[in-house]
């Protein structure tokens, strides 16, 4: 029977130093596994973000799982060290209020035992029980919150959040909260348009992917959010793999050995969703990170087999761009013990 995330207690764990992060078996099974076949290539793999099946990360529009409280502590640590991980250009304040409303209403509706929102006109009351927050404030009045609205609510929501202004038929990265990123920097990308911030991605430009993806994103309407999955790999369950901190995590890329690969190397899945915001007409782009260790993957035979085949057949440009070159062969060798050479069933879900 599918287990809901609501049945699991919040874990006390770390995403740095001693890395005590761990998935419970239920959390492994509900991960949004990104490969729907045995090979991988860039595609405009977007679909409507509708209520998914119970027991998966798609169950709720904004997913909250057993890592929530600890991830928020890690975010606070990152912001203490580097406040520029949150930025919002002056014209994006309205989009910040839109984001606050969306996240509060989604969470209160989906997880009433954890969150509640009471609205009396512009006088709002927000309760976040897992984080021990009880806040009265006036919607639209920044002076009634301890932080700007976008920073306030994204200190209480797993995943990174980019807020994209729509102008001139393009999208502009004009606000965000980015502390759990796969080697990119909000401080570097702030103010860039869709084509500028995607410029480093190999192969996809030639395939015309970004032009088509932008057209799709511009068509996203209120009430009809969309999603896609992206992935990379990370050594250690480190949420903050930022360019600013490359000196800390970069050297770890050479630390994978046949002995430690099962528990030290992680598939890093990004569940990206796209929401049209009502008052600002901006797009909210949450990027939620899920970690599965190679050992986690091995508990689902289909996933271990497929990961093995994807890594074997991955084009070298993509492997290099994702930073896999130091440990790809080690991972392939370890995963090979789970690959019986037989065809896998269709789709991403476990058999």
């Amino acid at each position: 029977m599918a287990t809901s995330a609501k049945d699991l207690p919040f874990r006390e764990e770390t995403f740095r130093d001693d890395f005590t992060f761990k998935n419970s078996p239920e959390t492994v099974l509900r991960a949004p596994f990104p490969f729907d076949k045995d090979s991988y290539m860039y595609a405009v793999n977007m679909e409507l973000h509708r209520d998914g099946r119970p027991g998966t990360a798609y169950e709720a529009p904004i997913d909250v799982d057993e890592h929530y409280v600890s991830e928020m502590k890690d975010r606070a640590l990152v912001l203490d060290e580097d406040p520029l991980r949150y930025q919002s250009l002056p014209h994006m304040t309205l989009a910040g209020w839109d984001t606050l409303e969306l996240l509060m209403t989604c969470k209160a509706e989906t997880y009433p035992e954890w969150f509640s929102l009471t609205r009396d006109g512009d006088n709002w009351h927000w309760v976040n029980r897992p984080m021990g927050i009880d806040q009265h404030f006036v919607f639209g009045d920044e002076s009634t919150l301890p932080y700007a609205p976008l920073e306030y609510i994204t200190r209480q929501a797993q995943g990174d959040f980019c807020v994209l202004d729509e102008r001139d038929g393009n999208l502009w990265m004009d606000a965000g909260m980015v502390t759990t990123q796969a080697d990119w920097s909000l401080d570097f990308d702030i103010g860039m348009n869709f084509f500028e911030w995607h410029a480093p991605v190999p192969l996809a430009h030639e395939k015309g992917i970004f032009k088509r993806a932008l057209k799709y994103l511009l068509s996203i309407q209120q009430g009809n959010p969309a999603r896609r999955l992206n992935w990379t790999m990370t050594v250690n369950p480190r949420l903050d793999t930022s360019p600013e901190n490359y000196h800390i995590w970069g050297p770890e890329n050479t630390h994978i050995t046949p002995e430690n690969v099962a528990d030290k190397l992680f598939l890093r899945i990004e569940l990206q969703s796209f929401w049209r915001l009502p008052r600002s007409n901006a797009l909210l782009f949450p990027i939620r990170c899920y970690f599965l260790s190679m050992r986690d993957l091995s508990t689902v035979p289909k996933w271990a087999t497929r990961m093995h085949r994807v890594l074997q057949t991955l084009p070298p440009e993509i492997a290099s761009y994702k930073g896999l070159d130091n440990y790809r062969e080690i991972a392939i060798n370890w995963l090979s013990q789970f690959d019986d050479g037989k065809p896998t069933s269709e789709g991403p879900h476990p058999d």
Partner: protein
């Protein structure tokens, strides 16, 4: 409404504004608030007109902060395919209808130090919503509104009360004309210009702002083409493996939808590009009515916008 979620609403009032315009009020059928929106947004109204389902976009004119009462003003078009006539003649208070979520192709640039607005006739409606938004945020703007005569200058009295010197009204029958050149050559740096009205007015503002050195990104226009009626024709849809008839008062997009084909759209007025479709075979003439395709794309005969364009000839095959 296609595969997208839509809103169930009730018509809460129908108000005659003048001899050509009626205003329609909508509330959510279950009494819950409607979504907030941004000034300049439109909704697509779904109309069950006999056997035909029409979906026509109209600008929201009510305050974007008002989530109890959506308002649109619709000008009766006796020559059109029937959407406005359906709204004027068939829609009454208390009726249940479906509308799409608000979508905005005519958004304010929130960075602008000043907004210069030009409205012609019924083109006033998106500005009404934008003005509410700008008043709330203390935005700097001025509105120039031209109409045929006082009777057809809908909402000009209310706007005078609300805006004072920020409003300038011009009536054709009193020989009053907007002096576009004087206005476009005397704005503070960074101003954005917005125009919604008859096609010649939009073309004129685009042309004159370019002549005065305005950057394209500072010139905004709402260019809804109306899908024109025309002779019936047949289209083959290769991917869906269907052959469909497009009626005289039907668009290709509507005919696809009637045949159960889920075709993409957003504006349904030839402006947004979402319904762009590849032409696989064409023995005859495509009658392009959109504002989206470039001249070379039209000349190639390989693209068509089925929300507004038509066809005359013996065979048309689309990649849909």
């Amino acid at each position: 409404m296609s595969m997208l979620a839509s809103l169930d609403v009730v018509v809460t009032d129908v108000v005659t504004v003048n001899s050509l315009i009626k205003r329609f009020h909508f509330a959510r059928a279950d009494g819950s608030p409607l979504p907030a929106f941004s000034g300049g947004a439109h909704i697509v109204i779904e109309m069950q007109d006999g056997d035909t389902i029409r979906r026509t976009p109209y600008s929201l004119m009510s305050s974007p902060l008002n989530t109890q009462d959506y308002q649109v003003s619709i000008r009766r078009d006796d020559e059109g395919r029937g959407g406005s006539l359906f709204m004027h003649n068939k829609v009454t208070k208390g009726m249940s209808m479906k509308i799409g979520y608000p979508a905005n192709l005519f958004s304010l640039d929130k960075r602008a130090p000043k907004h210069l607005m030009f409205a012609g006739g019924i083109g006033i409606t998106p500005f009404l919503a934008q003005i509410h938004q700008l008043i709330k945020t203390n935005g700097n703007f001025e509105l120039h509104y031209s109409a045929r005569n006082e009777e057809l200058g809908a909402y000009s009295e209310e706007l005078k009360q609300l805006l004072g010197h920020r409003l300038h009204v011009y009536y054709d029958d009193q020989d009053q004309r907007i002096d576009f050149d004087a206005l476009l050559s005397s704005q503070p740096t960074g101003t954005h210009v917005y125009v919604c009205g008859p096609a010649p007015m939009i073309e004129h503002v685009i042309q004159r702002s370019a002549a005065h050195g305005w950057p394209d990104a500072h010139v905004h226009f709402e260019h809804f083409a109306k899908a024109p009626p025309g002779e019936a024709f047949t289209v083959e849809l290769q991917t869906s493996n269907k052959k469909i008839e497009v009626g005289e008062n039907q668009s290709m997009l509507e005919a696809m939808e009637a045949a159960g084909v889920d075709a993409p759209y957003l504006c349904r007025g030839g402006a947004c590009g979402q319904c762009e479709t590849n032409v696989l075979e064409c023995d005859g003439n495509l009658q392009h009515e959109d504002h989206w395709l470039e001249d070379d794309e039209r000349a190639s005969g390989k693209k068509v916008m089925p929300c507004v364009s038509r066809f005359k000839g013996s065979r048309l095959v689309l990649d849909r």
